[in-house]
Assembly symmetry: C2
Homo-oligomer: 240 residues x 2
């Protein structure tokens, strides 16, 4: 399944007690469609407030319903703020998480002077001037294979493998919006938002471009900037 | 003042009893800033659910506060979903409504196959195929000066002057979105949504292109199609 959702209506992807999550909502809807308990497996969690343009999740079923029927039933019964874009049969070895090669996240900043009433839940409003060239230069330092401990928050448990590869950070200004496209083979907890927060500090002149290398080498989250808020972040695509 | 707002959070522009309106919210905020009652005058009403990218409203004040200070204070204190984009001093003869020469409305349809979770409050979701060329051809019949009684709903009182001039109806497809830009010297109650509803019926093949002329000539709202929903409509610009 390819799922689109508005992260602000849910307490994140993963099932938890006493809070509405996307996983719960989709599992309950599938249970209604397939008349039995269904457990879905997402390509990864998204935090509360983070959106998805195309989250991928798989489940197993012996139902005789066609994929098209399941798609239509999902879109009839899913709660507000979640929609199913595609349903297709996968290979038997397919696993939403383990088969994923790369993930593409998009982050959108609204860099106008006054707050964006109509986009308020879809962007981060940064009213101060941002120098795109400085941010681009800083982003280059993050490309490739690094230990990203400085950009990974993980309060509960130690990170197993903080070494990740970032393939691409593309920054594009279009009117008052600045779009960051970040593609990598894996991301630590809150890593994209931590990167964006730090790049914005470079763009506004609060940090120097070459500080990024130093931050990376220190392998400690305390050195990066505050994380960017969730409502500007989208899980844009999962590449298999 | 140039105001942007999310129409879904309010019961329309105009002050009414027991329902939150944009006019009320802006007047209360100005009262707080200027320490006295303020009455604002908008370029026109927008209905419940209809958004504005740039509604214009004026008020009179002898305050010593600069326009820039008022703008900042508005954006600090306006409720969620309303923002002020500009505040400037007008000529003494300026009147938001009477000085307006043209109004530019935009309507956005999401013409994808599955519901748009992230855009759900900003577009009308029309899943069936729409032929742009047919809609363009039909739209041409509406250009110029006509009696638009067939496209104006007015349950409470008779329309004073149903003759309006439409300068432009531009239809543009961009990905799954179809954008309608309608510019005219005035619009009857729910006229834009009534036009869009009828054009969509042409685009999906439910009505013929040349029916538009017949509908216009009948001068009766009962002949047009059901109106398009409010969440796809934006007061985009007021031209003085």
């Amino acid at each position: 399944m390819e799922l689109e959702y508005d992260g602000l209506l849910f307490s994140g992807w993963q099932t938890q007690n006493n809070a509405p999550t996307i996983q719960d909502a989709v599992e309950k809807t599938l249970e209604r469609i397939l008349s039995r308990k269904v457990r879905i497996c997402g390509s990864g969690r998204t935090d509360a407030g983070v959106h998805a343009r195309a989250q991928i999740a798989n489940f197993f079923t012996d139902s005789a319903l066609s994929c098209d029927k399941i798609l239509k039933a999902l879109n009839s019964w899913l709660p507000e703020g979640i929609s199913a874009r595609k349903v297709a049969e996968g290979d038997s070895g397919f696993h939403s998480r383990y088969s994923a090669k790369f993930k593409h996240y998009r982050y959108i900043i609204y860099n106008g002077k006054t707050p964006p009433a109509l986009q308020r839940n879809r962007v981060w409003f940064v009213p101060c001037p941002l120098e795109i060239k400085k941010m681009e230069k800083a982003a280059v330092c993050l490309l490739g294979r690094h230990d990203f401990s400085s950009f990974g928050v993980n309060p509960r448990r130690k990170v197993k493998n903080p070494v990740k590869t970032i393939l691409c950070i593309k920054i594009k200004k279009s009117g008052p919006n600045i779009r960051f496209d970040v593609i990598g083979d894996g991301f630590l907890y809150k890593m994209v938002r931590s990167i964006i927060g730090t790049l914005v500090d470079v763009g506004r002149g609060k940090r120097k471009t070459d500080e990024i290398k130093k931050i990376l080498s220190m392998k400690n989250r305390m050195n990066a900037s505050p994380i960017a808020p969730p409502q500007g972040l989208y899980l844009h695509k999962v590449i298999y």
